[in-house]
Symmetry: C2
Subunit: 404 residues, 2 copies
């Protein structure tokens, strides 16, 4: 028998307790021994819930109990999670977490402390919910030079974009619906402004390239400016618009960004719809591989946390290798990143096209019959800086979306 | 430095050597030490190829060299692979293989021998080519009761079906084209009759359920009877036809089969086209997760073998847990398996419909305007046995395809 503790009895924490109870036989068999949840930490009381018997309010009870060998941290946020996790690892306990903020901010330090104590810091649930991606990156994508890693990493925004695409609705309408359904927070900024995806691509790119990508260095653009009219053009082009978190290695430079991107059906991420997430890894020998599933939700996320608990138990006195050092990965200036751009312009096409062709060269013009007062064009592959310089010479640009 | 040997210098074997050389820095870093290919075993000579310096024709040289700690078996076929692998494990060497015939026929025995010697028998490349699926099943999908595992496991047949679907071509034409392109063997039976997919679903279902699924017990139906007309109906129904290898747990019974299945776009496997493979796992807590990528090819398959070599080196003196015992998994009689059926019938609909409705009940009729002399219908969910009994009462059934 092995004793564990769960920090936080919110959505994910109660899910972890539920998964361990529901799938008791399978979980214990895979762990190789019986898992006993000795403590659940939460400041609140839960009258009538069986968890009351093991609920504690004081973290030191858990920290100072040498019988507790594995801790699941599912509180979220930086503090007190960081202090709790660090002290647990220093006491020689392994920690499994679903906390992307914590991992993005302190991952390599916590990995180092775990290694120093021959224990493990695991975080499968911090990216892609229930999708196995962290362990496969660490243990399966090991023979490849990763050319790029691209993710649809946020279910809320993918739900909103999918609804807009399929039903022709505008952003505000779909956001309100998503909030009513519980798919979006009352303050949706972390999702719709791309901050959540930013932390996740920081984690994935750090693992793919072995050095630390600081999430604050990542160019991050959300989906709040995407409109139903953008989707009309996208549909006409046989394309869709997805919020990508992407890291690419090009000519020895590393580019990392979060932004909406217009893609066509040849991209494996094209048919990832609704609240689903997916991560596409392009390796120099394996080619494209994709991992797909529920990117959030109580039970899928808890499933990933429990798979980490099982892995921590299987490797109780062995540090499982993770290539993610504290050394900083130098990210190239985003202004040098090159893409095609889709650009919408208000006004009359005949009056503006000559100037557009002069500053952008070789544009592809797209006109929707139902829209008299605007048109759009697609550029060649140019740098962000080149785009900005050229765009500053054109009046009436409504929006621009990167194209892959 | 660690010494390894590669058994077989065919497509995959030369790929393994190429991947280790091309990605030397990454591979050695991930292995934690320099990998030295000390021997390559092949009966042939390769004049001018650098491999000549390390080529041996006698396996005993490798077996009896205590410096060789990991062996990659990429010859294919049962013998001499089985004898070679077994003796290597018994000598305390870890073995990584891409050989699905070997794994399907002798997997649990070889796993047991590896465990007895505290070494590892790994076979990531035996299913899904470069797609990480074996290691994720062993190490990530550990908190779930697997309700089903469904795979598009054969790139040749998926290429053929995709071409038939998108271009309206018949089976023979596409098969010839696939053979000309090297996507299909001159003797295509192993692929088009489903035998390859059968071994792969045997491996996956054994891992998912922890006991041994004998591939000879699996109901296996290929794609040779699928016609361009079937796809006309499928297109009208907004569906596609894919060759599935599938294992399901229903009411405590296990069903495993290989057969073409008509699916709609709500199935995550619907948009897996061309030579790509994908495996969809439905867990009782994680929900649907999918793994997608190149299911064959020299470098993708070699990438998976090298990831196993790295894992074997990281765990040189530790047996990594794999739940797959020699105990037989009892598979339910396929005649009790329940599905909907799509059925094509020659002749006049008005003359036959009354009888069809009488024996099948509640059928959905599908008529294509361009086909005067036939029609089709879709049944309710019924057992295979019930279908056969009812179908025997209807004259002129051209074909039937299961529907999910």
């Amino acid at each position: 028998m092995i004793n564990i503790a769960v920090l936080g009895y919110g959505t994910v924490g109660s899910g972890v307790v539920e998964v361990i109870n529901t799938n008791k036989a399978i979980v214990n068999k895979n762990a190789g021994q019986k898992i006993n949840i000795k403590y659940v930490l939460d400041l609140r009381e839960f009258p009538g819930d069986p968890v009351m018997d093991i609920l504690v309010h004081d973290y030191d009870v858990i920290l100072n109990d040498p019988e507790v060998e594995v801790i699941a941290e599912v509180m979220g946020g930086i503090e007190p999670a960081y202090t709790f996790v660090k002290s647990a690892l220093e006491k020689g306990k392994s920690v499994c977490t679903s906390n992307k903020e914590l991992v993005a901010a302190h991952g390599p330090e916590l990995l180092r402390i775990a290694k120093e104590h021959n224990r493990n810091f695991m975080f499968e649930a911090s990216v892609g919910g229930g999708i196995p991606i962290i362990r496969p990156l660490n243990q399966s994508v090991t023979a490849d030079d990763v050319k790029s890693i691209t993710g649809i990493l946020n279910g809320t925004t993918n739900y909103i974009l999918t609804k807009m695409s399929k039903q022709g609705l505008d952003f505000d309408t779909v956001l309100k619906e998503a909030q009513a359904l519980g798919y979006a927070e009352r303050n949706p900024s972390a999702d719709v402004d791309g901050f959540d995806a930013c932390r996740k691509i920081a984690i994935l790119s750090s693992l793919a390239y072995g050095k630390n990508v600081n999430y604050e260095d990542i160019y991050t653009e959300g989906i709040t400016k995407i409109s139903d009219i953008d989707f009309k053009y996208a549909n006409k082009l046989g394309r869709s618009i997805k919020l990508f978190g992407k890291a690419e290695k090009k000519d020895g430079n590393f580019y990392v960004f979060v932004a909406p991107v217009m893609i066509d059906e040849n991209n494996a991420l094209y048919s990832v719809n609704g609240v689903f997430n997916a991560i596409l890894v392009d390796g120099n020998v394996v080619g494209n591989i994709m991992f797909y599933g529920s990117g959030a939700g109580k039970l899928p996320t808890a499933s990933a946390v429990v798979s980490d608990i099982i892995a921590a138990i299987r490797n109780l006195n062995t540090n499982v290798a993770v290539e993610w050092t504290e050394e900083k990965l130098e990210i190239a200036d985003f202004s040098t990143s090159k893409k095609r751009f889709f650009v919408r312009v208000s006004g009359n096409i005949d009056e503006k096209l000559a100037k557009i062709n002069k500053v952008f060269r070789n544009v592809l013009v797209i006109k929707l019959e139902e829209l008299d007062d605007e048109f759009a064009f697609m550029t060649d592959v140019i740098s962000e800086q080149k785009y900005e310089e050229a765009a500053s010479q054109i009046d009436g640009i409504i929006t621009r979306i990167r194209v892959e």
